[in-house]
């Protein structure tokens, strides 16, 4: 078996995934990046998107995250995410409902802070729909 790194996905409520992987691609806020074993240490922020976990050259697992942070070092890739759902469990209705709610919130937002918050929710919903349709949304 090829060299692996320990992939960990943690939400504030619990440790969601902790397993070895050959490669992980992570949606960084400045573009996707792949983490392989012996990657140089790095800390990055994430945008809403999909984490792909590779094994044997194929994607074994796809997980949607709504933003967060990633810490990569030689033997580990740790992702801190507030919200994480396997892509197979995403539901089109949920994504549509969230998009609608976010659009309404964006319209109704009066303060800068509320607008920023609504914008973020909107981005998440858009990314979720993109994840459902199979592709990654473009980095912004």
């Amino acid at each position: 078996m090829a060299e692996t790194l320990q992939f960990e996905l943690v939400s504030p409520e619990k440790l969601l995934v902790s397993e070895p992987a050959e490669m992980v691609t992570v949606p960084g806020s400045e573009g996707d990046f792949g983490a392989l074993p012996r990657h140089s240490p790095m800390i990055a922020t994430l945008r809403p998107g999909i984490i792909d976990i590779y094994e044997g050259g194929n994607i074994r697992n796809r997980i949607f995250v709504a933003g967060g942070f990633a810490e990569v070092n030689e033997e580990r890739c740790t992702v801190l995410a507030e919200e994480a759902v396997p892509v197979s469990e995403l539901k089109a209705e949920d994504a549509a409902a969230r998009l609608k709610a976010a659009e309404e919130a964006l319209q109704a937002a009066e303060t800068d802070q509320a607008r920023a918050q609504a914008k973020r929710a909107h981005d998440v919903a858009v990314a979720m729909q993109a994840a459902l349709s199979g592709g990654q949304p473009a980095a912004h």
Binding site: V10, P12, E13, K14, P41, M42, A44, E71, E82
Partner: protein, 294 residues
């Protein structure tokens, strides 16, 4: 001297009280287990967050222009005290010990000429502090943890604190909560949230050179996002600890109450039997002396 009927009623009432307290004890015990599990499950996130912060702060150390949430406003005039209490009572000294400590903290700060603001979480804390610090309470939150503490609750509180800080409403923020030590002991803990004391970067064992991280986008960019998150995590941790402590305190209090009720029933039963016997004796004497008089 209470009559026999009074005693009987009293015993029934204490018995039903004992039923209630022992049921509450069981409920608290099962909730405690759940709260403890939640607290444990939340630990990995907090640990990793701390590690990242440590790495970031390590590389930012000594540089100018660290975010204000980390470095503070440079002043020390207005203090915000976040008080974590429970919504419900009947949990022994849980709320009163928190409130006592907060009172002391407020008094200390005021003596030093600081302005104090209070944000309460939980109904009991608010009600207790309102009596003599009503003007200091700027905000209060209720209804946390009815169905277990969720991160969204913590996030909401953290957002409030963050927006107050950004509006320049305070310089230093301290959260006061009951830390869970064991089911029978809680410890009132004060923790500073703003400026956040950076965890000392623990030296990797074996004198390994600490890895230098690359940052994407930049240290500042990440810190800007990480610090509010960290605030939410710290609040979340306090809420979890507090809810576990609350259940622990309630369990102990109800256990004591059940035991006391049991003792009381024993005492009342003895008293009841004695007075019943005394009454029978008295009636017998009356009959006998009545018969003798004939």
């Amino acid at each position: 001297m209470p009559s026999l009927k009074d005693l009987r009623l009293r015993i029934t009432s204490v018995k039903s009280t004992r039923k209630i307290t022992s049921a509450m004890k069981m409920v608290a015990a099962s909730k405690l287990r759940r709260a403890q599990m939640a607290a444990e499950a939340a630990r990995p996130y907090a640990e990793r967050m701390e590690r990242m912060l440590g790495a970031l702060a390590g590389s930012l150390a000594g540089q100018q222009g660290a975010p204000r949430m980390l470095a503070g406003t440079g002043q020390d005039d207005v203090h915000l005290v976040v008080v974590v209490s429970s919504d419900r009572g009947l949990c022994g000294g849980f709320n009163s010990s928190i409130v006592r400590d907060v009172r002391r903290l407020i008094a200390d700060l005021q003596r030093q000429g600081k302005t104090v603001k209070v944000l309460t979480v939980g109904r009991k804390g608010r009600d207790n502090l309102r009596r003599d610090h009503a003007k200091l309470i700027t905000e209060s939150v209720e209804g946390i943890g009815r169905k277990g503490v969720s991160f969204a609750d913590a996030d909401q509180i953290a957002a409030k604190i963050t927006s107050m800080f950004e509006a320049g409403e305070f310089d230093v923020c301290t959260i006061v909560y009951n830390r869970f030590r064991s089911a029978i002991s809680q410890e009132v803990t004060r923790q500073q949230l703003v400026p956040f004391p950076v965890p000392a970067v623990s030296e990797e064992k074996g004198g390994e050179v600490k890895a230098l991280y690359e940052f994407e986008p930049s240290e500042e960019g990440i810190l800007d996002e990480l610090l509010p998150r960290n605030m939410a995590v710290q609040v979340f941790r306090a809420l979890l600890e507090s809810s576990a402590s609350e259940q622990g305190a309630r369990m102990t209090a109800m256990d004591n109450a059940t035991r006391n009720a049991g003792e009381m029933i024993d005492r009342l039963t003895i008293q009841y039997n004695r007075s019943r016997q005394a009454q029978i004796t008295k009636e017998l004497i009356e009959i006998i002396s009545g018969a003798e008089a004939l």
